[in-house]
């Protein structure tokens, strides 16, 4: 067992594992019922992350199939019908079932720990959101296996996805998956925002919130602002398909471009909903391995928030080829370029932090360095796509495929893997192997560049996206073969990661509470943190509570542990406000999610499912929210100000 790979000033505190203050509040119920009923943010967060990763593997497998099909010209491995389903499933999986939810689930797991509280706000709602998400994803894959997988692209442009050309139920499954993922995404957003504003440890004023949490906060506000747009779009699509409305039918006064505007008004911020949380992960890892606090905290926060706002002003750059008025083109070009500035500011601040720090080069930091390399390249090709004339040539070609994978894999998957290596010891109590970690990183980094860099050239050479094959005469064969070989390296790398996780879970080196010498509060807890996280709530006096000598001034005691009580603090200054009992574990969110899913899936086939399907949902939710007399009485009795012992 290692107490610490890197010493932190937090070592001045008694070892948390021996500290009664952080012992489990109670033993949580195990077994199947305990599994289904849990409202612990850590259990929900981990299952969310594991599920998201499983979808990453599925989506990656589909990508591998596409690379095999494209490896040589005029390949007969996969026909157009299956290929169209595969690339639609790949994009849909990676965007809706992997990238966005896994970032949110990192927040579900980490935000309460970093803020020094006992649970996430609205934990039953978060449990419900998980079940809705996993059932929605399962529905999509069952449809795919039954050959009714969506085949109109992850962007589902009408009229191709509309009632006239998108025959069968394929696009309905796609549209309904959107409903599933949006419901779960919005609920998590509400929970994270509330947790951040009201459940911070006392003293953690707004200028002491960790940058990771700021990133998640910006992300969740973006989620709440962007998702209604795609919700209305996909609902209109379902109505066009199911009950014959004409939102998108030009023959009846509808407009196919309306779909594009609504979709990209969501779709572009969505890219940033994947990227902004990743920035938070980078801001958590860089200071730890530079052994100094992040330089330019205010600039970092302003940049995160500015990125959030600006991300809503770019959507038209996906539509330049549809013919946009000149003023509009100029505006959206400028906006698309301006958003590079907040990202550049953060990049410069990280470099400044590393420049003046004393760098410890461990696996998590390797992934962040990979992120620098790949993201900067992807960001620069993004500037090219923002330019209207250049976009006319490279839009919808393999250049865009290269660009988007550089920003999404480089900008999100690399930091995410860094985050996995960084927080795995916290979540499991065991270290991931460093040697395998380096192999994992280098194979991914080299494989990624071999797979995706040639695609820039292919795009300029005229290779459009979403084609299931191409003629040998086009001259695209060699680079496609190279790209496929790169993809195989990535597959090997991800397999190594899974091996690494499996080995570490069984026999990995034991991690102490704070193996990296981290800066934020999650490192104060034992690894893995016990149920309920902590007995007493720390009083925070610094942005780096684990590093600053007086970072934790004292502790708030006297919160009930059965049921779990949390300390609610004020939004800006984090003054103690009142105590709140967290809801107890219950099966009702699970049951309600089942009924919700039945209604959603039923409405693919008949509009009456909405009518009759709502009834069991109402029953389940009524049972869920039904007040229990004993709980109400106890809460009334406990409504008194908490006692600050040491502050």
């Amino acid at each position: 067992m290692i107490d610490s790979v890197l010493p932190g000033r937090g070592d001045a505190f008694p070892s948390p594992t021996e500290d009664a203050r952080v012992a489990p509040l109670a033993v949580e119920r195990r077994g199947l019922v305990g599994f289904l009923a849990t409202v612990d943010h850590k259990r929900i967060g981990i299952r969310y992350i594991v599920t998201g990763f499983a979808f990453f593997v599925l989506g990656g497998t589909l990508a591998g199939l596409m690379r095999l099909q494209l490896a040589v010209p005029e390949n007969g491995l996969i026909g157009p019908d299956r290929y169209n389903q595969i690339f639609t499933m790949h994009g849909t999986t990676m965007m809706f079932l992997f990238a966005v939810p896994i970032m949110a689930s990192m927040a579900v797991y980490l935000v309460p720990l970093m803020l020094g509280t006992r649970n996430i706000a609205f934990p039953r709602m978060v449990a419900y959101s998980y079940w809705v998400y996993v059932i929605g994803g399962a529905m999509l894959y069952v449809a795919f296996l039954l050959d009714v997988g969506p085949d109109a692209g992850w962007f589902s442009y009408v009229p191709l996805a509309g009632p006239q050309y998108g025959v069968g139920k394929r696009s309905d499954f796609w549209a309904q998956l959107i409903t599933f993922t949006e419901v779960s995404g919005l609920l998590v957003a509400v929970a994270i925002v509330t947790t951040t504003f009201r459940l911070r440890a006392p003293g953690m004023t707004i200028e002491r919130i960790p940058l990771f949490v700021w990133a998640m906060l910006a992300n969740m506000f973006m989620t709440m602002a962007a998702m209604p747009s795609v919700m209305s779009a996909s609902t209109a699509l379902i109505l066009d398909r199911l009950v014959g409305t004409h939102f998108f039918n030009p023959a009846e006064g509808g407009d196919p471009l309306l779909w594009q505007h609504l979709f990209w008004f969501f779709g572009h911020p969505e890219v940033y909903m994947i990227f902004v949380p990743a920035l938070g992960i980078v801001s958590a890892i860089v200071p730890t391995f530079a052994r100094r606090t992040q330089f330019g905290y205010p600039a970092m926060v302003i940049s995160l928030v500015a990125t959030g706002f600006l991300s809503f002003a770019l959507w038209v750059h996906h539509m330049f080829a549809t013919a946009i008025p000149d003023m509009g083109k100029g505006f959206f070009t400028a906006a698309s370029m301006v958003i590079a500035i907040p990202t550049a500011v953060q990049l410069f601040c990280w470099i400044a932090t590393l420049w003046t720090g004393r760098v410890v080069l461990r696996t998590p930091l390797w992934w962040i360095l990979g992120f620098f390399f790949i993201l900067v390249l992807g960001g620069l090709t993004g500037l090219m796509l923002a330019s209207v004339p250049l976009d006319y040539q490279i839009h919808d070609t393999y250049f865009v495929v290269a660009h988007l994978h550089y920003v999404l894999i480089g900008g999100a998957v690399f930091p995410l893997f860094g985050g996995f290596y960084y927080w795995f010891p916290k979540a499991t109590g065991r270290m991931l192997d460093e040697r395998l970690g380096r192999w994992n990183f280098w194979l991914f980094f080299i494989g990624f560049n071999v797979a995706f860099f040639p695609m820039h050239v292919l795009g300029l050479w005229g290779m459009p996206r979403r084609i299931y094959t191409y003629s040998a005469a086009m001259g695209w064969g060699t680079l496609n073969l190279v790209a496929t070989l790169g993809a195989l390296l990535i597959v090997t790398s991800v397999a190594l990661f899974i091996v690494n996780v499996a080995r570490s879970l069984r026999s990995g080196e034991k991690a102490g509470a704070d193996p990296w010498g981290g800066e934020t509060l999650e490192w104060r807890l034992p690894s893995p943190p016990a149920f309920g996280n902590l007995q007493s709530i720390p009083v925070v006096t610094s942005r780096s509570p684990m590093w600053s000598p007086e970072g934790i001034a004292g502790e708030v005691r006297g919160l009930a542990s059965q049921p779990v009580e949390v300390l609610v603090t004020s939004g800006l200054d984090a003054h103690p406000d009142h105590r709140l009992s967290m809801p107890s574990p219950t099966l009702w969110p699970f049951v309600a999610a089942i009924f919700t899913s039945i209604m959603f899936i039923g409405s693919i086939f008949t509009p009456w499912a909405v009518v009759w399907g709502t009834i069991p949902i109402v029953v389940a939710m009524t049972a869920w929210f039904w007040p229990k007399r004993g709980e109400v009485r106890r809460n009334r009795a406990l409504e008194k100000a908490p006692r600050l012992e040491d502050a």
Partner: protein, 345 residues
């Protein structure tokens, strides 16, 4: 340290050799990097400017990050530092501020260059432009040459001839789903959207055959929805135009006459048109001068008698999901039909 520097050099060498290998490959059939007209040339210059600026920024940022990591390595991992050194932080603030200002200036330059290029694209002289209307279908291109004189209007498909040196104004429409017209050697793409009419202008400055392809995902056969733009010298173009306007003569050969009867009386005539015959449906490519075209099935196949026979009998083998049904005729009908199609010069 040296081992690491060696690794960097090896990486750089690897990237460089990859780039060289890519450049050494055969010239592709359609390319934005090989402009043959003013529109593609404007965009090509902008590409060079952007590539140069972006490459410079990339090298600077990656080098700065790498140096930052290598400057003070700390293998053991010392106690963390709270970073309160006012002098150093002032210096960092100044440097980050300068870098940000430089980025802003660079971005402004790119915006200006981009808008200027867009204006140049719009400024193509078009007083005596040739007007061509293109309608996108799943999965072929309907082409109509417009003229003030209605008797001079003619239709063709998938192969567009244009005169070298003369601006062509394209009117873009879609019949079913969204498509995108893209001939990279001549110009960037523009979408064809149901219910809307778009326009674009291009010009070829050198004779040649420029391949294009649908660039907006449009269903099963998106991959094989190609087209050819054939830029002819003006006199040659005029001859082609005259030939296209001509109605095919009444067949004198008995086999061809029989083939025409088969064409008119079987499923062919339900979708296709041939001027001067009773077949005048517009659901599929106009075949009036089929034999004069270079390719079949939207550039999927070379136009040879063998390919034509194979395509007519089993189009799904070449383009699964295509709207063309297999034509199963007895040999005594198929032979004349193919002869008739082959006669449509």
């Amino acid at each position: 340290m040296t081992r690491r520097a060696g690794r960097v050099r090896a990486l750089a060498a690897g990237a460089a050799s990859l780039a060289v290998a890519a450049a050494a490959l055969a010239a592709p059939a359609q390319s934005a990097l090989d402009p043959a007209g003013p529109q593609a040339a404007h965009i090509h210059s902008l590409w060079h400017l952007m590539l140069a600026m972006c490459a410079l920024v990339f090298v600077l940022v990656v080098a700065a990050a790498w140096i930052a990591v290598l400057r003070h390595r700390d293998r053991a991992g010392g106690a963390p530092e709270l970073g309160d050194d006012p002098g150093r932080d002032r210096r960092l603030t100044r440097n980050v501020g300068l870098a940000t200002a430089a980025s802003a200036v660079g971005l402004l330059a790119l915006v200006v260059a981009s808008v200027a290029t867009d204006r140049a694209l719009a400024g193509l002289p078009h007083e005596d432009a040739l007007h061509v209307e293109i309608t996108g279908h799943q999965w072929w291109w309907e082409v109509r040459y417009d003229d003030k004189d209605a008797s001079k209007v003619f239709d063709t498909a998938n192969e567009i001839h244009i005169p070298v040196g003369r601006t062509v104004a394209l009117t873009l429409k879609a019949d079913d789903v969204i498509h995108s017209f893209w001939v990279p050697n001549l110009h960037g793409k523009k979408d064809l959207i149901p219910g809307r009419t778009n326009t674009t202008m291009l010009r070829a400055d050198a004779p040649g055959v420029y391949r294009g392809q649908c660039a907006e995902f449009c269903g099963y056969q998106h991959a094989w929805m190609g087209l050819l733009v054939v830029a002819d010298p003006p006199d040659e173009y005029a001859r082609w135009e005259d030939a296209q306007r001509a109605t095919p003569p009444e067949p004198t050969d008995a086999t061809i006459a029989e083939g025409r009867r088969v064409f008119e009386s079987t499923t062919c005539a339900m979708c296709h048109a041939v001027q001067g015959t009773r077949a005048n449906a517009r659901r599929a490519p106009d075949l009036t001068h089929l034999a004069s075209r270079r390719t079949l099935a939207a550039v999927a196949l070379d136009n040879t008698p063998g390919n034509l026979a194979a395509w007519v009998q089993d189009p799904q083998r070449f383009k699964p999901g295509s709207n063309m049904p297999p034509v199963q005729l007895p040999p005594e009908q198929l032979g004349p039909l193919l002869a008739f199609l082959g006669s449509l010069k």
